[in-house]
């Protein structure tokens, strides 16, 4: 049985979903979960599998892609039918919508081979690409040529901590940022429009303040897993790259001062341009190979009759097989 994962029933599925994604399900407006319930030995329904997906919105607020972020079946109860029940439920929603594509990224590693095969059975077309996610040990920055000079007490000009700005000016900044994203056709993170107070860590986030308003910001959110996630990573004008360096220094110094040197920083971009920017700051990085599976929604067209004709034609070409099956 499939159920939408909500605040009320998430406890049934907590053992199936990483803490960071549970947080997404509870906070973010673009993240949704489906859970599969089966009877336990004691006859009570329990969570056996979970699927988490993100609806990616375009600038007009229309969903342009559904991205599967997580598909997991309890390892003690592994059974293909649980994954099938979850994926068909999503297919039903996708097939009845105008969303053009549905995608899933599977790491190109041996341990994900079963998952890749399962999704291929459900007609995802896979092509290799590079992951657009960036993750780095904070401690590795100690040897980075840009960051090695930053110590706990180094004076950093230009950038301030978000704690020094008021919530109102942050909201105003996010509104401006959204406008800029719309103008340049960039992906709009829903946190820009659906900002929850205190979502960004005021100490680790850094801002450039001019005349009382925020002009540029690097906004950091601390994940339940301890990962430092850079959610919004931008300056108002792309030619003001100097801002960005100061913002990075300031946030790095804040991490040093908070003694979370063992943390990992994480950032997800939506195109290669974003990754090039990351490379410029951190030096080149290793982008893991992933297999991106895609299903397009505009492939509607074949009717039941056409499908029957195709089969009939096939039986005509293979009369022996048809006779054999008929007489079984």
């Amino acid at each position: 049985m499939i159920t939408q994962i909500s605040k009320d029933n998430i406890s049934l599925f907590e053992h199936l979903i990483p803490g960071d994604l549970i947080e997404d399900l509870l906070i973010r407006i673009d993240t949704f979960g489906l859970g599969c319930l089966r009877r336990d030995l004691d006859g009570v329904f329990d969570g056996y599998g979970a699927l988490v997906f993100v609806k990616e919105f375009d600038e007009n607020g229309m969903v342009e892609n559904i991205r599967i972020k997580w598909l997991y079946v309890d390892s003690n109860r592994r059974d293909d039918s649980i994954g099938c029940e979850l994926i068909t439920d999503l297919f039903w929603e996708f097939g009845n919508s105008d969303v053009p594509t549905m995608t899933v990224d599977v790491p190109a590693k041996e341990e994900y081979e079963d998952l890749g095969n399962f999704l291929s059975d459900w007609h995802f077309q896979f092509a290799p690409t590079y992951s657009l996610e960036f993750e780095l040990e904070l401690s590795a920055l100690k040897d980075n040529k840009y960051f090695m000079s930053i110590k706990k007490d180094t004076e950093i000009k230009g950038a301030k901590s978000l704690a020094e700005a008021d919530a109102g000016s942050l909201k105003a900044f996010l509104r401006e940022l959204r406008k800029k994203c719309v103008k340049s056709g960039q992906y709009i993170d829903p946190m820009l429009t659906d900002y929850k107070y205190d979502y960004f860590d005021p100490k680790l986030s850094s801002v450039v303040i001019k005349n009382g308003s925020i002009e540029g910001a690097l906004l950091v959110h601390v994940r339940p897993s301890g990962r430092l996630e850079i959610v919004v990573f931008d300056t108002l004008e792309s030619n003001e790259q100097a801002y960005l360096a100061h913002l990075m220094y300031k946030s790095y110094q804040a991490a040093l001062n908070s003694n979370i040197e063992n943390g990992r920083i994480y950032h997800e971009t939506y195109n290669e341009k974003g990754m090039n920017l990351i490379d410029n700051i951190f030096g080149t990085h290793e982008a893991p190979l992933v297999l991106r599976g895609i299903i397009e929604n505009n492939r509607l067209g074949i009717s039941t009759e056409q499908w029957e004709d195709m089969k009939e034609e096939y039986w005509k070409e293979n009369p022996d097989l048809y006779e054999y099956l008929k007489n079984r």
Binding site: M1, S81, C84, H123, I302, K311, Y314
Partner: protein
């Protein structure tokens, strides 16, 4: 890309020889998957897959028919006395057979959507039956 050689031998799998250092694994993979040898071989598999699909489809349609008739014998009164395990297993078995029917065709071609509708209807019926039994 020069230096990459794809040999198709009489063995079951094509052998692929890589003569030079390959800088870009994506380019290599694309070159291999787009080579005519591999595409021809894939076409053979595709044919075999269709054969298997058609075989399973007939089998699955028969199973769906049997299970549907079983479920139809349960009404709002008799369903209360069906053992919980039997009820769940009957529906799960029915779903498994419908999955085969959906996988046979591209899921977003009309046939696939018709079969998804069939699946959804039975899933809803299962939930209704659980409600009648007072379990939901």
């Amino acid at each position: 890309m020069s230096g990459t050689k794809i040999n198709v031998t009489n063995d079951e799998e094509p052998t692929i020889e890589i003569e030079s250092d390959i800088a870009d694994p994506i380019q290599l993979l694309q070159e291999i998957t787009q080579s005519s040898e591999v595409l021809n071989r894939y076409a053979l598999f595709k044919d075999a897959a269709f054969e298997a699909f058609s075989y399973y489809e007939d089998e699955a349609i028969r199973n769906v028919d049997v299970l549907t008739r079983k479920i139809q014998t349960w009404d709002s009164e008799t369903v209360k006395s069906v053992p919980a395990d039997e009820l769940e297993q009957t529906f799960l078995c029915l779903y498994d057979n419908i999955y085969i029917l959906i996988q046979n065709v591209h899921p977003f071609w009309q046939v696939g959507m018709e079969r998804l509708k069939l699946l959804k209807d039975y899933q809803d019926l299962y939930v209704e039956m659980l409600k009648v039994r007072g379990e939901l």
